[in-house]
Subunit: 296 residues, 2 copies
């Protein structure tokens, strides 16, 4: 999956895993060439890899929380930078589980989570980016999108909700939108959770076998599997047309949950470290404040 990059592209890399999982700008994407069960970039070692993966992820927690706090602290002094994690993937690919994992790493008060559902009547009356703009992270925050503007070129394409020419224009609209975000200090990290057809079958069967999970299940989930190739094609187009310098796509193999959580954590870590937010120095007299606090 790792490929040689021209010098210009290499510059944008936030770190080695970002480099490895990133979809190169302008390149054709064939998802069948990506192994959904793989663990790219994870250090090889004696099995079970899962145990090493869980430990490595846990060890990143403190650094991530520290970086988030610094990002937030910097925003109180006017730094507009923030991060937006966009999660896309087929049903059961683990978008919700990833949100839960990521929020557990951070202080939730500094996170802005949004799960996008089918657009409401009001949302459909506006341009498709309207509902996205309303919930962008504020300076210093970590935004997490469970689905996103990409639904409007994914399900909208597969289900033919709008004409094909309109879909074609949307890629450019998304790219321009994301470039503006980047210029405004938003680090956009777009993650495609790459699940295999077989693993989706296993996960749906597991839901069926547990009556407590039946509320999550509809027969539409099975009908949608007939559209799997159409969805893969729609994803391939979105990945190749919208992986830009300003906002690249990353393909994260998602058949193994431990790897998915490790990879997303690591991508966030690399991007936050590249931002390198700094604490402010005190603009008050610390000794004087101590004295005042102790005096009464």
């Amino acid at each position: 999956m790792a490929r040689k990059k021209p010098a210009k592209e290499r510059r944008r890399s936030a770190g080695p895993l970002s480099e490895l999982l990133r979809v190169p700008e302008g390149e054709r994407v064939s998802l069948s060439s990506y192994d959904a069960g793989g663990t790219p970039g994870f250090p090889t070692g004696p099995p079970p890899l899962k145990v090493a993966g869980l430990a490595a992820t846990a060890l990143m927690g403190e650094r991530l929380a520290g970086l988030q706090e610094r990002l937030y602290a910097a925003s109180t002094a006017g730094d507009r930078r923030r991060l937006l994690l966009v999660l896309q993937g087929m049903d059961t690919s683990g978008k919700g589980g990833t949100v839960k994992h990521v929020i557990g790493l951070f202080n939730p008060s500094g996170c802005r989570i949004k799960a996008f559902k089918a657009p409401t009547a009001e949302e459909r009356n506006h341009p498709f980016l309207w509902r996205i703009m309303k919930v962008l992270p504020r300076p210093g925050e970590i935004g997490i999108f469970d689905r996103s503007q990409y639904e409007d070129v994914l399900i909208a394409r597969v289900r033919e909700l709008v004409p094909r020419e309109e879909i074609g224009r949307r890629y450019g609209q998304i790219n321009r939108f994301e470039k503006t975000l980047a210029e405004d200090g938003v680090t956009v990290v777009k993650v495609f959770l790459h699940l295999s057809y077989e693993e989706q079958r296993r996960r749906l069967l597991k839901r069926l076998d547990n009556p407590d999970k039946h509320w999550k299940f509809t027969t539409v989930d099975i009908d949608e599997r007939a559209l799997w190739p159409a969805y893969q094609e729609a994803y391939e187009l979105a990945l190749e047309r919208c992986s830009t310098e300003a906002a690249p796509w990353f393909v994260v193999p998602a058949d193994r949950k431990w790897y998915r959580n490790w990879a997303v954590s690591k991508l966030l870590l690399e991007h936050l470290e590249a931002l390198d937010p700094r604490y402010l120095r005190a603009d008050f007299d610390v000794a004087e404040c101590r004295k005042r606090l102790l005096s009464r």
Copy 2:
């Protein structure tokens, strides 16, 4: 702190800890009679209590997550019920820490967190409840407010931001608002994190002693301590005028973080168990679905 309740009040109790920490409707509140370092309702045992507290809290996690999922599942079938946790307390009382703790218990995708800051110009142009209404939890969700409508009778009273008569009217407006919420299926759990003056001093000194926490500190934090008695009085009034049948206040001693987390978890558990949300039975043929899933 436990008091005899008339039969009518006892009916509303969600459970033994809710009963113990609840501010009885219409009763005078004197915060100095509440021990901020206490552990009311926590089973006595050999020290360290903290270890038993952390374990007891961890053990509640699975039940809480299960109840939240059932509440959410029920909402997909039209059940409008939801829970709103309101957190209030002095600076450093641990509102943010409690949010982090609570969100860790639940699936964050089903939570709606809102931290209220000083009102914006737009918010000030609307009635004070306007910004609250915009971010209420939807059916099936757990809402978490870090500060709330109560700021408008707390800092607004202490800092004399509006005339005293206007503050007087707001208690009634809040009560009517919360009654409407309750009638619409919102279980409102209002928690006052009760911190002692001494413990706040210790926490502020700790921030001063750690340069990485200086961004959280302003000399206003010290100035505000001079207003401590005025804030305590404002809280006493809010607690006694707004602890209603529809939306009671609970006083949670907050000097010990482990107790605070245990007590808030337990209050949530008691209220969610009282709601007793149920999973839907499948409206599809499970065997048939299995067959279809396995067929291709």
